[in-house]
Symmetry: C2
């Protein structure tokens, strides 16, 4: 089924304890699209880049099934740029530079060919732009998921509440969930957030895994214990891409299938962090992904029926 993806496409410069990059490809929509492309070949991309953004990357996405009619290329302007530095624990990072450039006045265009989209993933952007996308779709999609961040809670709370009321799934990290809900307990926090609109809340905890909440049910997927996390940039977006890509592929969105989607999202994220930027996501094979998913099965599988054996 079709998946519409909205988000930034950007340049990142990253420093980790393991090394440092020049400007490399980044941005939420880049990671989400690459990750989702392993599950569905009907992806519709909505984003904006400057004339400096490499055509090779756009061509690569097209070859993976991404329609790019909704990707605005502003020839005389510059792409969004972010640079940051991670510390040893990889859970916190310092932003060194943020240059909005083309993203400053982004007005998302939904081409006619993008109408009748089944699934929508709204990457982190201003809540107003996220809502504009929903409003510009003539037919309500089967499932809309969104990401957001603390910044919008601080500067655009009312807009964020309006957008949240329109979506089915919110995918955020633990710190964001705490700020959004005003609750330290993630269990209480998820309940508060479900009261704002989404029926499903996914709370990502980085190396500590992810929680999926729906009504009174909770599902937990661990992160795969890795020898090293090389670069966590994009891991959350890669999770979202795998999550929504899996749903688009499997055509269901009941709780049981969302649980599987969390596992696939976690598997994709576990690849993302193995190399800098999008590098690892460009070279995966379906067999590697299945093997990684089976590692998750092994990691959490136990047979409690045999307790008295």
């Amino acid at each position: 089924m079709s998946l519409l993806i909205v988000g930034s496409m950007a340049f990142d410069a990253i420093e980790t304890p393991f090394g440092k990059t020049d400007k490399i490809i980044g941005g939420a929509a880049s990671y989400i699209s690459l990750s989702a492309s392993y599950f569905t070949s009907d992806i519709r991309l909505v984003s904006v880049v400057g004339g400096d953004f490499p055509h090779t990357f756009i061509n690569n996405l097209q070859e993976r099934g991404c329609q790019t009619e909704g990707l605005q290329i502003r020839k005389d302007e510059k792409s969004f740029f972010w640079s940051g530095r991670y510390h040893l624990d990889m859970n916190s990072r310092d932003t060194l530079t943020t240059e909005l450039n083309v993203l400053a006045d982004f007005d998302p265009v939904i081409p006619d060919t993008y109408q009748n989209t089944d699934y929508v993933m709204l990457g982190n952007l201003t809540p107003t732009v996220q809502r504009l996308v929903i409003e510009r779709l003539k037919k309500r999609p089967k499932l809309i998921a969104m990401d957001t961040m603390n910044f919008w809670m601080n500067v655009a709370w009312d807009e964020l509440m309006k957008t949240l009321a329109l979506v089915d799934v919110l995918i955020i990290n633990d710190e964001e969930a705490r700020q959004l809900s005003g609750q330290y307990s993630l269990v209480k926090g998820a309940r508060t957030i479900m009261g704002m609109g989404p029926q499903y809340v996914v709370i990502k905890k980085g190396e500590h895994g992810a929680l999926l909440f729906h009504e009174n049910s909770v599902f937990f997927a661990p992160a795969l214990p890795l020898e090293d996390v090389f670069d966590p940039t994009g891991a959350g977006d890669t999770f979202a891409g795998g999550f929504m890509g899996y749903l688009a592929k499997s055509r269901h969105h009941n709780f049981a299938n969302l649980k599987r989607a969390v596992i696939y999202g976690s598997a994709m994220a576990s690849f993302c962090v193995e190399k800098f930027g999008t590098e690892r996501l460009l070279e995966l094979t379906p067999a590697e992904i299945e093997e990684r998913v089976h590692s998750f099965v092994d990691l959490v599988q136990f047979d409690i029926e045999l307790q008295n054996a």
Copy 2:
């Protein structure tokens, strides 16, 4: 099967964001024994208390199947006392007071009736005392597990290495695993620690669950997402008691059974944090424990065979 438990029995005074206690019963051996008593009724306790320690608690342990011939009661001395304060995240705590009292020169006595013990849990104590217990057992037990802490790594490294070389299972938290191994990655850290002696390493991550390592296998058990963690004191010891109690009950210690033991340990720990001190552990029913274990099954269970449904 029989389980020998060595550790402190103490008074604690605890402050959390939810409240504050006067002196209440604490100590590693208290939590381990209570927790294990739900699984096996052949427990052999080795510890030391002062004349101030309540007989009612000792009687309670006896009624639960704990033999106390190895519990030294020094009438004219005072029991070990610890007080501490937790912050909102409950992952860090400040120690306000530590009074060793009877623990300062603890020389563990192994009564003849304790010989031929099947399983041994060495709670956190000086590595020298832990090793003395092992040496004073005439027959090698089936499985020896131990806990330790950063303090011993700082002040008694060589002694700790000698003791570690004698045990089968090390149960520690993530921060301790990092210090002991000198590795930030827990995967690499566990491998380094297995090189020091233990065939199995359990790394507890508090609210983020626990990892079990053996050779090249890893198992992960989440912590149950709770509305509130009321008081984390003793959660790690309660985990160890459930873990070893389950093994003693089920009489196996292959990897599959150690995985189940981790789940039972996690279930017991999830009760411990619901009230102050040992309060919740005194009132559990077997039905509650089974129900809690089933919550763990629900929490992590997914069916990936249906991926293309």
